[in-house]
């Protein structure tokens, strides 16, 4: 499938349209809303399912030497991307150092739903990928936060960093659940997967639709409330940074010799921006940074960009580059 067909077929998938519905409803100020507890429960489900399936995939196909390499690449990318992002932001936007650093931290980290959407596209195209990419995703969540704080510290501003915060970041619920369910999937393997696949495989796409509906609602509400908080430069950053991150992921993936699917997922991880773990850490460590800047960019600009245009783009690029 060519890039355009891919993009088109992606755009009219139920999950993208569900996101669009949520976005439209929020922008039109409908009172449609998902209870907080339900949204959290769905996100636990998605993390558990994606982690478990990744682990079961590793159990099924075995591990080659690239696991360690991929984990290391993930670490390096998560540390490195914020510096690139910070530099780009300084050029494109008028954000303060602290705001720019906070945003940069978000782009080094990852959005697990973007990752999940990418795996869905791979699956629908019957393209295989390394099951351990889930572990790479988990590993990429936290390091970017340190880079962001380091950037701030270097400019002489004080970030509130204590031992408690480090533990909070590393033992963040989504990291623990992703890694934990990955390990459970690995240990219990095909047999374990067979036992619970009618829970974590069959209804997965449908649950994802409801979650994206909610994300559309939250993103739309955010866009509506932060009108004016983002300049043109910042919005441009939100669309330019993902392909740049993806290019870094592409290079790493090719170096490691990942499969086409694996390269595409690493690109997606590098291209995506956090909207759960990093915002919470930033509120603690960089309270002066304006949350409506980083949340709107991450959830209102970059997330939809990746979901609609980014993912097909990364898949085409990965296919071309790996000759897959």
């Amino acid at each position: 499938m060519g890039l355009f067909e891919l993009a088109a077929s992606n755009l009219i998938s139920p999950i993208i349209l569900s996101f669009a519905l949520g976005l439209a409803a929020a922008l039109a100020r409908s009172d449609l809303s998902v209870p907080e507890a339900a949204a959290k429960a769905i996100s636990l489900y998605l993390l558990f399912a994606i982690g478990f399936k990744g682990g079961a995939g590793v159990a099924a196909h075995g591990l080659d030497g690239t696991l360690i390499g991929a984990l290391a690449a993930g670490l390096v990318l998560s540390f490195a991307v914020p510096f690139v992002a910070f530099g780009l932001l300084r050029v494109l936007s008028k954000l303060s150092t602290i705001d720019a650093a906070a945003v940069a931290g978000h782009y080094g980290s990852i959005s697990i739903v973007t990752f999940v959407a990418a795996t869905s596209v791979l699956q629908s195209q019957a393209i295989a990928s390394e099951g351990y990419m889930v572990a790479v995703a988990a590993v990429m969540e936290a390091p970017a936060i340190l880079s962001a704080l380091w950037i701030v510290a270097r400019t002489g501003k004080a970030a509130e960093m204590d031992a408690g915060l480090v533990r909070e970041i590393l033992l963040n619920g989504s990291i623990v659940l992703l890694i934990g369910s990955f390990v459970i999937g690995w240990i219990t393997g095909e047999e374990g997967l067979a036992q619970i696949s009618s829970f974590i495989v069959a209804p997965f796409q449908g649950v994802l639709c409801l979650f994206l509906l909610d994300m559309g609602l939250v993103a739309g509400r955010g866009l509506r409330q932060s009108r004016g908080a983002l300049g043109v430069g910042a919005v441009a950053f939100g669309c330019l940074m993902p392909p740049i991150g993806a290019a870094m992921g592409l290079a790493a993936g090719l170096l490691l010799g990942l499969s086409t699917g694996g390269v595409m997922l690493l690109m997606t991880l590098s291209a995506s921006a956090s909207y759960i773990a990093v915002p919470a850490a930033m509120r603690v460590a960089l309270p002066e940074a304006n949350p409506s800047v980083y949340l709107t960019l991450s959830l209102g600009v970059t997330f939809p960009f990746n979901l609609t245009l980014g993912i097909p783009l990364y898949l085409s690029a990965a296919t071309l580059a790996t000759g897959g």
Binding site: E36, A39, L217, V218, S226, I276, R283, V284, P287, L295
Partner: protein, 103 residues
């Protein structure tokens, strides 16, 4: 019914900071507190709601603390140290409590 003078301190603070606040209160000798969920609100940083949120970043919680009046200053110092650099609102009301031994 016999009642005893007390202060009711209500601190509205970001969720990611709640544990830090309650740790600070405990260190300042506060013997008890209650955390209430907050659904939404508005302030200098705009309006927000918890609906559909997955991250704790965008939400607040209310911590209510009843203490003996002579302990108020210690509590406020502790609370202020946490709230100072963060979004948050601290209010104090005069109250009476039953069972003074508990405070």
């Amino acid at each position: 019914m016999e009642t005893h003078k007390a202060k009711r301190v209500e601190i509205i603070i970001e969720r990611p900071m709640v544990r830090r606040l309650t740790d600070a209160l405990t260190k300042a000798g506060v013997t008890g507190y209650t955390i209430l969920p907050v659904f939404g609100g508005s302030g200098q940083s705009g309006a927000w709601t918890r609906e559909g949120q997955v991250s704790p970043a965008g939400g607040m919680a209310a911590v209510v603390c009843l203490i003996r009046p002579d302990r108020l200053d210690g509590l406020l110092d502790a609370a202020f140290a946490v709230v100072e650099t963060h979004i948050g609102v601290v209010s104090i009301t005069d109250a009476e409590v039953l069972r003074a031994d508990r405070f």
